[in-house]
């Protein structure tokens, strides 16, 4: 682990904090917190100063002690309103990966009903048109949406050779959802312990074949299900979806914090439901608030990938399983999602150059 260099990209408040930390040590004669590599890193986002502790060099009692003693010291730095001292981000997956799947990206929102599943489906459709082999794993075990979004229904076949479930294929996309295994009206009441077991099966017992990208549609919130998912599999990134209103931002911020803690990089933020155009007078009404996504992206320091208005045509298509009719060049939904796909393809192409040739630029691609 390299030593923190205060002159490399830290702002004034952060340098101030590093200066304080470099004059403190746990033992009277020992090295300071920075040189003893006890502080992993620090970051100021908005008015919140975060200090990430290195769990390799500190035991739990020491971490607790530092959490208590550092906060009041760093709070006095101009521009700092709150101090959070916590263990440095650590992945819990242990590097486990799904066989045959090159990249796994989660789509998440701290808040429900922001259109996360519909967006996931649209993204997958766009990527599939570009020749990328895409699958969707619907990990929303309490409210699976793939059956409606793709008009796809079970039964799911089991591969007799390896006992794994074969994904359904609809509109060129491989799909797996608990909704394919359950009748429509049955409530799934899973206790936390069952979630751990059941969900990990969903990651390990599906025969995806060769996939360039698996999008995992996570349930809203920060719960057992998320932990279980993150434990079963290493995610290459997460796309966060939010609605523009403040009530939604609170929850979304909490969700982003969870992924940051578990060392899953955030690819960016999508602001969905950003206004509805009246079919009568074309006036855009901001029914779900305004501009919140942009301010959150700026505060946290992640890119705002797109701001997408509510399109009644997309809602209708989602209900009837015909989203593919909306994902056509020139259509509102297609144009609005282009920047997201470009960013995703960029990320993927960085790892798989052959994909960049196939999808040199999504807007120019022949669909």
């Amino acid at each position: 682990m390299p030593l923190i260099d205060p002159n490399s990209g830290y702002n004034t408040a952060e340098r101030h904090a590093l200066d304080i930390l470099s004059r403190m040590s746990l033992q009277p004669e020992g090295a300071d917190l920075i040189h003893a590599r006890q502080v992993h890193d620090i970051a100021l986002t908005g008015e919140v100063m975060r200090v990430f502790l290195n769990t390799d060099t500190l035991d739990e009692a020491q971490q607790e002690m530092l959490a208590e003693s550092l906060a009041p010291l760093l709070k006095d730095i101009p521009g700092v309103e709150r101090v959070i001292v916590k263990p440095r981000p650590q992945a819990v997956s242990g590097g486990r990966r799904i066989a045959g799947v090159k990249r796994v990206v989660a789509v998440h929102s701290g808040k429900g009903g922001v259109g996360k599943s519909t967006l996931t489906a649209q993204l997958a459709l766009m990527l599939a048109h570009l020749g990328i082999k895409v699958g969707i794993l619907d990990a929303d075990i309490y409210g699976p949406s793939l059956p409606i979004l793709f008009g796809a229904h079970g039964p799911v076949q089991q591969n007799p050779d390896n006992q794994k479930m074969t994904p359904l294929v609809a509109q060129g996309i491989r799909l797996m959802s608990l909704g394919f295994l359950l009748p429509d009206d049955q409530a799934l009441v899973w206790r936390g312990s069952l979630v751990d077991e059941g969900l990990s099966q969903f990651f390990t017992d599906v025969d995806w074949g060769e996939l360039d990208l698996l999008l995992v549609d996570l349930p809203p919130g920060t719960s057992d299900v998320h932990l279980a998912a993150l434990r079963t599999n290493e995610f290459d990134g997460v796309i966060t979806v939010t609605a523009p209103g403040q009530v939604s931002l609170d929850d979304v911020r909490r969700g982003m914090e969870m992924f940051a803690d578990l060392a899953v990089p955030c690819i960016g933020l999508i602001e969905n439901m950003a206004g509805v155009a009246c079919a009568g007078c074309r006036q855009v009404n901001h029914l779900f608030g305004e501009l919140g996504g942009g301010s959150l992206a700026q505060e946290i320091g992640v890119p705002l990938l797109a701001t997408i208005p509510f399109y009644p045509a997309v809602a209708a298509a989602a209900d009837s399983g015909t989203l593919n009719t909306q994902i056509q060049p020139g259509r509102d939904a297609f144009q609005a999602l282009l920047p997201v796909v470009e960013r995703l393809c960029g990320n993927i192409a960085g790892v798989f150059p052959e994909l960049r040739q196939r999808s040199h630029h999504p807007s120019e691609a022949q669909l």
Binding site: G110, K111, G143, D184, V189, D224, A279, C281
Partner: protein, 313 residues
Amino acid sequence: MSECKSTSRNSQQIPLTNIADSQTQDNIPQPIEGIGEIVLVASGKGGVGKSTVTVNLAVSLRNQGLRVGVLDADLYGPSIARMFGASEGLKTDDRGIAQPTECHGVFVLSVASVMPPEAALVWKGPLVTQTLTQMFREVQWPEVDVLLVDLPPGTGDIQLTILEQFPICGALVVTTPQRLAVTDARRAVSMFHELDIPVFGLIENMDGYLCPCCGEHQQLFPSGAAKQLASDRSVAYLGGIAIDPDAQALADSGQPMVTAQAGGVTASRFNELADQLTSAVLKEQKYRAFQARESDHSNDTSHTDFWEPLLDE
């Protein structure tokens, strides 16, 4: 603005005595001191406006003269505190016992009151149970006639814990016209029916909106699915609520619509819903009283005591 209405009661007051709980059996959850009837506000899917409905119903019931509490059980996405404008932390009495905050005449308790917005809460099952038990039983609830509980979406740990551990009068299910939402609402209705909790009705939120520019009623989602669900499951369809273009800003700034735009269309819809809820609760109480009489064996003996001497003669 007078947030606190006088405490005078009208005829619709819900009596505090909980008849069903007088027969103490081991599997029947114990009543909670001071709390009359517990009504859950649930939804299968998130983001359908469940919390907005809870807040406005609470204030509306309060305006009818009831004493009302709101417990935000959505530990994963607590938004009640913001919508009531109650984010300045939890008060404790001199014994250190937490007290719900009074906002707009309603007693509000939410986990959001005690935690910073960045705190990522990854709640594990046992922790959920413990936190909920504390929120229901270890808080100094004032006497309330109705406690509305804002459930998180879905059918997970929190729902199970609440349904098993606390005496629930009934539930309202909120959905939008969207098929995705209605499918999840269907699951929620199933869960309540399986556990024998009465579903007082289905509320169809985001049922279009009125364009403030041209006044035209615009549909956001194709409609019909919610009414179908209500009729399939013999649950009352309590009606739709159109999105009010001011709703988001009011919710963000902590002003319940029922108070901020008391004369408006949306406010009167909530007042109607509050009336429907009150009559459903009263009906449920009557039913429980009837059941209690039916199963009351001491009644049987007095019955026999009365007849035996007569028969002997």
